[in-house]
């Protein structure tokens, strides 16, 4: 499989004789007849990347011929001729360039058309701002394809992302990830839909950082997406989730979380517009709900599935009639027709609505949120940046992002976001949290910490750092031992039982061996340990 250069060229000598081409392996004494394309590949193998080899030769030979040539040479390498396996991967050269001032170059594939409809305004905005800040730490590039000879339709650069316009022949058989082989230090995937993105995971040597939003509208596919991604990830890749409970959820599902990092979106904090009383006044005026001036205001920031969400909020509002409840939920505004008297529902849908949101946050006495996929943590943090304590409705205890700034109420939700919490307990906790005595227990520096920690700059920097970390992990984990005795899977007659059993015969030692061991070994050549494990679990093998 031409997936990466896994071999180094040994001392060799090429020559032609009677119109035939040969290459002599001076280390083993093997002599191999090669064809024209293999001759040329050998000349380039040491100095060029696979991508360069193919790009340089593709005008002269058919793509399949070139790939077959590489395949054949690497096949020889597997058999010990001409090439020898690289035991350690080449030290990452580019990502270390931080010292030399060169910013890493990242590929950011875009196909946001699908996602535009799925992302709410804030998620989209966060993504845009993230890229903007990222461009301070990395050179960003995306790919656009047009046909050679076709209409010249060059996509102009986005603000922060340069567009690499590629003109390819109509018959171009190479998929987009092929172009990611060349010249990138990393690939940043932001997609929540797994279509072509998964193909990038097959690009060798280039680490991927995949950022996943717990978008409520995608909740039905979220679990599948996460499970699939975890299978595709290599040790150099990183999955970024935006809240700690997402990681805990994955761990609960048995997904290995070594490569999962929690990096919340950065928060935008604006200066308060006067004091809390003024903010409450504004809020009451905007929603024409005077109770927001008099009663304790509780913010509920959620990512509910609309139908269930509306039902639950109504029940919550009726159980806590003394509270003025401000709901921030991107989906509910359109679907929640008749909320109870003490509830207002809001979402930011454009720059204007977005600009008033801090006023409402400032008016809150308490912010309450269910720690589950779909709940935008950065929005919660933005509210808490005004010094508002929280009640986290949580399955995994107090989320680490808000430790010291509130209390957790035990709750449960299943893999599909169905949400269960004891209303009595929640009401009691909220009641207690609103008592002045309780508020004193709050970490006073919390809001300051949020502002300092969760800046967009920090987020961008942390993510760029992940590419280098990934490569380091890869280097550390490299060197899977390969058995020297190739297995042949075959049936074996057992005279004692008169039955035929599947077994494995090892060439070299010429003995039978356990099927499971060899199967694991063969699968591990092309699959991650987690994949092999899940296959074995599925077939109930040891």
């Amino acid at each position: 499989m031409v997936s990466r250069k896994r071999y180094r060229l040994k001392r060799h000598h090429k020559f032609e004789r009677d119109g035939l081409k040969y290459v002599a392996d001076l280390e083993t004494g093997d002599l191999v007849e090669i064809n024209d394309v293999e001759w040329e590949i050998l000349g380039r193998y040491e100095f060029q990347t696979l991508h360069q080899i193919v790009e340089r030769l593709k005008g002269k030979y058919k793509l399949t011929t070139i790939f077959e040539g590489i395949e054949r040479l690497e096949q020889l390498g597997r058999q010990g001729s001409l090439l020898s396996p690289i035991v350690k991967p080449v030290e990452p050269t580019r990502v270390k360039d931080e010292q030399t001032d060169r910013m890493p170059k990242l590929l950011v594939p875009f196909h946001f058309t699908n996602e535009k409809t799925a992302l709410d305004y804030l998620t989209g905005l966060n993504r845009y701002r993230f890229l903007k800040h990222l461009s301070a730490f990395a050179e960003l590039e995306t790919l656009a394809f047009s046909e050679i000879g076709g209409e010249k339709n060059e996509t102009p650069d986005f603000d922060e992302v340069r567009v690499r316009n590629l003109r390819v022949p109509k018959s171009n058989a190479l998929v987009a990830p092929w172009y990611a082989l060349d010249g990138y230090d990393g690939i940043l995937l932001l997609s929540q839909f797994l279509t072509d993105d998964l193909l990038y995971y097959r690009v060798p040597d280039v680490p991927i950082v995949h950022c996943i939003d717990g978008v409520q509208r995608l909740r039905h596919t979220l679990l599948k997406t996460l499970l699939t991604l975890s299978a595709f990830q290599r040790s150099k890749d990183t999955l970024v989730v935006k809240a700690s409970w997402m990681k805990e959820w994955l761990a609960e599902l048995g997904v290995p979380v070594e490569n999962v990092r929690v990096i919340p979106d950065g928060v935008d904090v604006v200066a308060p517009i006067g004091d809390k009383a003024l903010a409450k006044q504004h809020t009451a005026a905007i929603f024409e709900k005077p109770m927001f001036m008099k009663q304790p205001v509780v913010g509920l920031i959620s990512g509910f599935e609309p139908h269930r969400g509306a039902t639950w909020i109504s029940a919550f509002a009726r159980a806590n009639r003394h509270l003025a409840i401000f709901v921030y939920d991107a989906m509910l505004t359109d679907h929640y027709q008749h909320p109870p008297e003490n509830v207002v529902v809001f979402s930011a849908d454009d720059e204007e609505t977005r600009s008033v949101l801090p006023i409402f946050f400032q008016a809150l006495d308490l912010v309450c949120f269910p720690a589950m996929p779909g709940t935008p943590l950065s929005t919660v943090l933005e509210a808490m940046a005004f010094g508002v304590p929280c009640v986290a409705i949580s399955k995994y205890g107090m989320p680490e992002e808000v430790v010291g700034a509130g209390v957790a109420v035990n709750a449960d939700w299943d893999h599909f976001g169905n949400f269960h919490v004891s209303m009595t307990e929640l009401s009691k906790t909220i009641y207690k949290s609103l008592q002045p005595s309780e508020a004193r227990g709050l970490d006073e520096n919390f809001s300051e910490r949020i502002v300092q920690q969760h800046t967009r700059k920090n987020t961008a920097q942390a993510i760029v750092q992940l590419f280098a970390e990934g490569l380091q992990r890869e280097t550390d984990n490299f060197g899977t031992e390969r058995t020297l005795f190739p297995p042949i899977f075959c049936r074996r007659y057992e005279p004692e039982t008169g039955m035929l059993k599947s077994s494995v015969y090892r060439l070299g030692i010429n003995r039978y061996d356990g099927l499971e061991t060899a199967l694991a070994e063969v699968l591990a050549e092309r699959h991650m340990a987690a994949e092999v494990e899940s296959v074995f679990k599925y077939f109930q093998l040891e």
Binding site: D30, V175, L194, A231, F416, V522, H527, V535
Partner: protein, 621 residues
């Protein structure tokens, strides 16, 4: 003393001087003489030239220099050898000069011992089959022929000449092979892998290709030969690794006894079946053997029946009375002239049914039971029934006479031994009706031209000797033949007719056709470049159990970063399909079969999975 050692006498002189001097005195003198002696011994050693026997024909060599060293690339052996300057100079003279002249010529520029050392090393390389042509120069005779008319026969452990000296061939398997080879020459040139180049007979050569050379020479072999023919020997170590190289032309393995030997033969065949490429195959001497294996595997098309033949010119009906007369005279037993005879031609061993035959003799004192074989083996020391007559061991050309002296041919081998029964066919060709047991390959050879006697056959236990001919039924069948002249004549006629259909000519033609067919299969093989990943699936929403399952995701991209499937980039597959897909990257469909047999309980379902995945690979190639 330099170079003056011309006779033994001188040496003795020196020794004498030494001893005399030693006796007479002085240490000093002795030391001097020790030096003389040492230098003398050294000279003798140095002067002993290593003889190689130049001039010699060289292989096609390409000499080159790399990193300051000289190398010779041996194009015929696909090996590169590092040479010293002196070895290189020697090679330059090797084809035209003799040992002595080379020694002399190089003596001008090198020390004698350097030349000797170079000779030594070249001689070692020659022993490895490198640089020098071993045997005759066959290049000219090879080149005139088309490449598709050459077949490489690799049968280690058997001397090639033995196939052409029929009297030295003993076992039926080798006998059959010997005949087959001699008829195969009508269709194709045969090159036997050996250790030198020589012509054996018209169209048959031994070539300097050792077992260890095969893998290295694979592209040359692919270029020269249309196939590789070999014989299954269950302890072979060399053949299995060959299947891993796609370059080799089709490999055909002739297989024989399926039973016996604790299943080792079977297991060896199963290993070959698993490792074989799509374009390789087995031949079995009878439908019985073919079906035996075909029943165990999912792809029976790997097993081809290749029946043996019989030389029906040599083996033909003769005047029976005259034949009996001649044998009777020869061994001095007149009973043969008058009594009805039952015949048995074999090694006299239990597995060949010798004890059953003995029993038959005891059961039928009114018939004469003749045994023709190398000797009586362990039965020689036993008291044998009076009507059991050993007629001795005869050269092959005399066998027709022996067969003709039999009225009935009796073949009582135990199960597991006989895949075909070549002697039965020879007897039939001589018009002798056979009686054979009802198992193994023999009944299918006999057809309606003989009688099949009952046998105890334990089909479920295939790998041990557990089927026995029934002496009583054998006896009944023999009696019915010998007591009914009309019936006997009918069988005799049909036996001869049936035998005439089994010709070695047909056998040879089948082999050539089999190779042709396998070549077509080779062209149909598609590379498996599909990529897949195993991922857990989310638990079903409505299910109580929230456990993760495993599925496989097929990527639209292949290993060459080409799109090989339309529409979406990912396709969900069953985990079973994914496993097969991954296995088929470096392993054969037969190996996937062994794995599926273990993983999937339902055989039909498992076979469907394999078929589906192979279809997917072909469809996206």
């Amino acid at each position: 003393m330099g170079g003056k050692i011309s006779c033994l006498k001188c040496k003795i002189c020196i020794f004498l001087t030494f001893f005399v001097d030693f006796a007479r005195k002085p240490i000093k003198k002795m030391v001097f003489n020790m030096h003389v002696l040492q230098s003398l011994i050294f000279k003798v050693k140095k002067g002993r030239k290593k003889l190689i026997g130049f001039p010699k024909t060289l292989h096609q060599l390409h000499i080159f220099e790399a990193d300051g060293n000289f190398y010779a690339a041996d194009l015929e052996k696909a090996r590169v050898v590092e040479l010293s300057a002196i070895m290189l100079d020697t090679l330059k003279l090797a084809e035209t000069q003799t040992d002595d002249t080379i020694f002399e010529t190089l003596g001008a520029s090198y020390e004698d011992d350097e030349v000797s050392e170079a000779f030594e090393r070249l001689s070692d390389l020659e022993k490895e089959g490198l640089l020098f042509n071993r045997g005759e120069d066959l290049q000219s005779s090879f080149k005139t022929e088309s490449k598709w008319r050459k077949l490489l026969v690799v049968i280690p452990g058997i001397n090639v000449d033995s196939f052409f000296d029929i009297e030295t061939v003993s076992a039926g398997t080798n006998m059959a092979l010997s005949y087959m080879i001699r008829h195969l020459v009508e269709y194709t040139d045969l090159h036997f892998a050996g250790s030198r180049n020589r012509k054996i007979t018209d169209g048959v050569y031994e070539v300097d290709i050792g077992i260890d050379d095969l893998i290295r020479l694979r592209s040359k072999i692919a270029e020269t030969y249309y196939g590789l023919l070999t014989l299954h020997q269950e302890h072979d170590r060399w053949l299995l690794p060959l299947y891993r190289y796609p370059e080799f032309p089709p490999i055909v393995v002739q297989c024989h006894a399926p039973r016996g030997h604790g299943g080792q033969a079977m297991n060896s065949i199963f290993r070959h079946y698993a490792a074989m490429r799509d374009c390789d195959g087995f031949t079995a001497p009878s439908d019985y053997v073919r079906d035996f294996y075909a029943n165990y595997v999912w792809d029976p098309s790997f097993f081809h029946t290749l029946p043996n033949g019989v030389d029906s010119k040599l083996f033909h009906p003769m005047d029976k009375a005259a034949a009996k007369h001649e044998i009777a005279e020869e061994i001095g037993d007149d009973r043969i002239k008058i009594a009805p005879t039952v015949g048995y031609l074999s090694r006299v061993q239990s597995e060949k049914g010798a004890s059953v035959y003995l029993k038959l003799a005891e059961l039928n004192p009114h018939f004469l039971f003749l045994i023709a074989g190398p000797n009586l083996g362990r039965y020689a020391s036993r008291a044998l029934p009076n009507n059991l007559v050993y007629v001795g061991f005869h050269p092959r050309e005399k066998l027709p006479l022996i067969y003709n002296a039999f009225d009935v041919y009796c073949f009582p081998s135990m199960s597991g031994e006989e895949t075909f029964g070549l002697t039965v066919l020879e007897a039939m060709a001589c018009g002798v009706p056979p009686v054979v047991p009802n198992f193994d390959g023999v009944p299918s050879v006999v057809g309606d031209a003989g009688l099949v006697a009952d046998a105890e056959n334990f089909d479920h236990d295939v790998a041990t000797l557990v089927s026995y001919p029934c002496p009583v039924d054998f006896s009944v069948k023999i009696n019915s033949l010998l007591n009914n002249t009309e019936m006997w004549h009918g069988f005799s006629e049909r036996a001869r007719q049936r035998a005439e259909n089994f010709t070695w000519h047909n056998t040879a033609e089948r082999i050539v056709k089999l190779f042709e067919m396998l070549h077509h299969k080779k062209k149909l093989i598609n590379p498996n470049r599909l990529l897949n990943v195993f991922a857990p699936t989310p638990p079903a929403e409505d299910k109580e159990s929230q456990e993760l399952k495993c599925r496989s995701i097929l990527l639209s991209m292949n290993a060459n970063y080409e799109r090989c499937l339309m529409r979406d980039a990912v396709y969900p597959l069953r985990a079973e399909d994914g496993v097969v897909l991954s296995i088929l990257k470096n392993h054969t469909p037969r190996e996937a079969e062994a794995i599926l047999a273990e993983l999937v309980a339902d055989k039909t379902e498992a076979m469907t999975i394999l078929k589906r995945v192979r279809g997917l690979i072909d469809g996206t190639a």
